[in-house]
Symmetry: C2
Subunit: 464 residues, 2 copies
């Protein structure tokens, strides 16, 4: 009887505690969302970063300015500590605006291109050659010596039937990253790649490429062509011989010696478990086109906003909450790698890392890389997010910068915003402040802060 009474009392108390916790959590989440939507600072920060600093490619003067600005703003938040971690980054410059046209016996058709990041220049007066259109790297391998002396035109469109545009990107971006490497191996003189864009418009989309282990004479200039340009070129190529079609392009980009940049880091020390570190971040560098507002200005200001919200709402974290604004994501992840190496050296215990690097659109949920126990814990919090229309709690995902922090027992998360518009802007002149909606940005920041509040409160499973 006594035992039954004990169990009953225990169950009753547990239920009470569970209910209180849930009530407290849902109240806290509501405060976080209200703060972000009514007094948020992310949009103002993004305005400054976009308009007063702008594009901030690794190695550029603007990149240095961005580091100084970010540190200054974090200093103002009255965190426990703010510091810079030096990182060696590549330095590539686009040079003069690229020029390109399709040359035919009936005249020239101007098209919009931009050099791909890491590409070499064309000869000073440009490059004119016949074109061979392909849809895959494999097709080039099969053509072999037939591409010799030609410009290879990679024209496989992003598949529009994918629901998540990131998957459509994943299904196509090999052409951009490896097109020049493969074509160069077989003696092609240039590689033109259809932009990673689901729309048909005039924006060329830059992005990283690699020559891999190609010999010097196998390195060929490569550029992205707008989807409009790609459609025109492909159509005209159907009459290639009749039209005596050739492609001309000129670019003066160059790879310069590496320089120093910085990860910008700030933290609120945890009260109870200061050695358990929870990271939130985005990358401070961007491509050199547009203003890098979605990629990844949004992730930067949302991450800063998470710590501001904690401070403003007087949430005193039990664990250490650290914001990391990573150097050079776009050009080889130097910042993410350097950060993880330092953490390893200092034997720091990173229990959770959350990255926002998919644009400042309405948040839909998270991608989660963790063991099953921790994944189940996140699923238990799902109902807390329902009032905010956060539904996706998908297995897998995280972020490029936080990837190197992966351990058997920790949790990596990527914010999953709505992906439909991302490739309208990605790596182009169109990625500007005006393309970001204030509320969508703020909802993302609130969603990130809420998730980290929960991890801070409950920790992760099987780790102390």
């Amino acid at each position: 009887m006594k035992t039954i009474l004990k169990i009953t009392v225990f169950l009753f108390c547990s239920t009470l505690i569970a209910q209180n916790t849930t009530k407290k959590d849902s109240t806290q989440l509501r405060s976080i969302y209200t703060e972000a939507l009514t007094k948020g600072r992310s949009y103002t920060w993004l305005n400054y970063l976009s308009k007063n600093i702008g594009a901030r490619l690794s190695g550029s003067e603007a990149n240095k300015k961005a580091v100084t600005w970010a540190k200054t703003e974090l200093d103002k938040l009255n965190l426990t500590k703010v510091w810079l971690q030096p990182v060696t980054v590549p330095h590539w410059e686009r040079g003069e605006k690229e020029v390109a046209h399709i040359e035919t016996k009936h005249g020239e058709f101007k098209v919009d291109i931009c050099a791909l990041g890491g590409s070499i220049a064309t000869p000073k007066n440009g490059l004119l050659a016949e074109v061979i259109e392909v849809k895959s790297l494999k097709e080039v391998e099969e053509l072999g010596a037939k591409v010799k002396g030609k410009i290879v035109f990679f024209n496989r469109a992003m598949p529009a039937d994918k629901i998540e545009t990131m998957r459509a990107y994943g299904a196509s971006v090999d052409q951009r990253y490896s097109g020049a490497r493969v074509a160069g191996k077989y003696g092609a003189v240039g590689a033109i790649v259809r932009s990673m864009n689901l729309k048909i418009d005039n924006y060329p989309h830059t992005g990283s490429m690699s020559y891999g282990k190609n010999a010097e004479n196998e390195k060929i200039p490569t550029a992205a062509i707008s989807t409009n340009g790609a459609e025109l070129l492909s159509t005209l190529l159907e009459q290639k011989d009749k039209m005596e079609l050739k492609f001309y392009f000129k670019q003066s980009c160059e790879n310069l010696p590496e320089v120093e940049s910085f990860n910008v880091i700030g933290e609120i020390k945890g009260l109870k478990y200061p050695n358990e570190i929870i990271v939130v971040g985005g990358h401070l560098d961007s491509w050199d086109l547009g203003e890098g507002s979605h990629d990844d200005g949004a992730g930067v200001v949302q991450s800063m906003e998470v710590l501001r919200i904690f401070k403003t709402l007087k949430i005193k974290p039990q664990r250490t909450i650290r914001v990391v604004l990573f150097a050079n994501e776009e050009f080889g992840l130097s910042g993410g790698k350097a950060y993880a190496a330092e953490a390893e050296k200092k034997k720091e215990n990173h229990i959770v890392a959350l990255e926002s690097d998919s644009g400042g659109f309405t948040p839909r949920g998270f991608g989660i890389t963790s063991n099953d126990q921790n994944y189940q814990q996140v699923l238990q919090w799902k109902s807390l997010f329902e009032p905010y229309n956060i539904h996706i709690f998908a297995k897998g995902g995280g972020g490029a910068d936080i990837g190197p922090l992966k351990k058997d027992n920790n949790v990596l998360l990527g914010l999953r915003p709505d992906s439909q518009r991302y490739f309208d802007y990605h790596h182009t002149d169109a990625d500007v402040f005006e393309a970001v909606n204030k509320r969508e940005l703020e909802l993302g920041a609130a969603t990130m802060a809420s998730m980290l509040y929960l991890f801070d409160t409950y920790g992760i499973k099987g780790e102390k």
Copy 2:
């Protein structure tokens, strides 16, 4: 033993059937989404409707053009039948572009306004008066005679902390609809209303208003002021006496005699239950600013696309699928009311009606008005929509035009797109084709077609 065997066989077969049905359904949904995203026609239609016809306020020439265009396009789809239903609609005209400024002894500050739909004009040379700022209709009631001879300025902002912007609209729009009626009762000479906009910008947002049963001399001119203008006016009003502040506005709008418009209707007759009618629709009219692309060009072309998809994929509906492009939603729901009255007269059995009238943004789910049995049926289909990130199946909702079709036993649905950007465009010059993303629009059409495919396949509960 025999019985057990029978039961076992029965259960086994039921399971098989259930599985096959689900498999068939998920395959069908995948085909619908692929068709919409790769060969969809909604975006091309919207381009034409926006750019070649444009704003199409009830009673305007453009509204007539829109009716002709819609009928012509439906005729091309090879439906069972396409027809026009005459509807009497109001005819209000804005007249010349409105002018407004804040007058002070230090000079004039120009602000952006637009007359509210249904408002009377100011005197020919405009109206100049002192301003009294209020936050609610109730405050005017309390002020009573103190508003006499003044312009009442309704300045309660939409609450930014609401997650769904439609709720923020619902919490504020009484000022626009009833502000002039209430202020006019107490002798005010004009009413200026803060635009229904969560952003701070220069777009005034029009929309309907009503004088209710006010006497002629209690009808006062009313306009919306941009949020930027409202903020300025409110700030300057803090120094009202010192600045000798007055507000000036001039508008020449007028209410003209009613005219004839049409509901544009097309249907595919059901093979098995032709008398069970499933309606999909949006409204063909729009405000006279911008191009009415989100409101409700998107709903119009998505509804047309549903029938096109059925035809193209050779889905032969068991029930009758009918598209209705409603006349005059914006100005009193004449089309919706006329349609329901006709249905009543003909004793037509409308089992399901689905409306899209919340913008062409990424679809998130549905609002559902039905009895519990039918609501539970929709919930059973939820998992079919998960691959398409459709998660919201909320009780309540539908659409203004289909509202009059409500019966005890039928189902009304409203498509629920992401709402964050809707009030950036709603009823303004900014509601143009360029503000609509192709994929977001197409995903909405596919989601609508998928839901109606399921209702066509399974019918509703308790109705034959």
